[in-house]
């Protein structure tokens, strides 16, 4: 079972308490009515589908209930980093 560090509980806890919530750092456009269909499609559906470190949102659903961001390597399934929602995308990742 994966162990995930919750930045709010400050504890490393079993995966069963968490739910995946899609790619992180995708801001909803401030004024969707000005966007073209292609731009709106890209916002809704187009994701990076990374091979390697992937920035994603998780929710500690059966714990503190908070959304947070995580960096997970999609090849090894290892969590490289987790940080609170709203914090900037980290510049460098731990090895």
């Amino acid at each position: 079972m994966l162990l995930i560090h919750c930045p709010y509980c400050e504890a490393t806890l079993p995966e069963l308490e968490f739910t995946y919530a899609g790619e992180a750092h995708i801001a909803r456009p401030a004024d969707p009515s000005t966007m073209s269909d292609e731009q709106w499609r890209d916002f809704l559906f187009i994701r990076t589908n990374a091979r390697g470190p992937h920035f994603e949102r998780w929710r500690h659903a059966h714990g503190c209930g908070r959304f947070f961001n995580a960096v997970r390597d999609t090849v090894s399934d290892k969590f490289l980093l987790t940080y609170k929602a709203g914090e900037p995308k980290p510049e460098s990742l731990p090895e």
Binding site: M1, Y8, C9, E10, A11, L13, P14, E15, L16, E17, H60, H62, G63, C64, G65, R66
Partner: protein
């Protein structure tokens, strides 16, 4: 119809009578106001708890607490927060009917819990608590001492959780 191998049990399980519970959500910046009306210092780290008299507060998340008290005190808690409401926005929800409480007591209580709870139970210190899962069912787990636990479980999940605990308890008693 299966016959139990033994009627002996390793851990004593009991279902507590119903008592008042509240879910409190408040901005972490306003916690001191809630602490004041409640008469106890609300803990701010998830997992920690504080008690005074019949009142027990457990911090579940950065802005979420669960409060336990007894029937005689329930009105006072509600009145205290009702007075706070015009000044400090918050949400106090009575969830007394939502959950039931199972107590587990005995040296093997942690072992019994570990049959369906994925948490590292040694990391849950006596006098703390947490929200977690028990065989996919969300529970609030409180550890009162090394060998005493309480499980708060949604009432519709109670038969499922109780059946699992009882079966595992029989296995523990049989030395399996």
């Amino acid at each position: 119809m299966t016959t139990p191998m033994t009627t002996a049990s390793a851990v004593s399980l009991s279902l507590l009578p119903e008592f008042p519970r509240y879910s409190l959500r408040i901005d972490p910046a306003d916690v001191s106001a809630a602490s004041e009306v409640l008469g106890l210092e609300l803990p701010t780290r998830p997992g920690q708890r504080a008690a005074t008299g019949s009142r027990l507060a457990l911090c579940l998340g950065p802005d979420e607490w669960v409060l336990y008290t007894d029937e005689a005190d329930a009105q006072a808690v509600e009145a205290a927060f009702a007075a706070l409401y015009p000044v400090t926005p918050h949400s106090l929800i009575a969830i007394s009917d939502r959950e039931r409480t199972i107590t587990l007591s005995g040296p093997q209580a942690a072992e019994l819990l570990s049959t369906s709870c994925p948490r590292d139970l040694t990391a849950i210190a006596p006098g703390t608590g947490t929200r977690t899962v028990f065989d996919t069912v969300q529970i609030v787990l409180l550890r009162d001492s090394e060998s005493d636990f309480r499980i708060e479980v949604g009432r519709s999940f109670l038969p499922h959780v109780w059946a699992l605990l009882e079966r595992a308890n029989r296995e523990l008693a049989a030395g399996l």
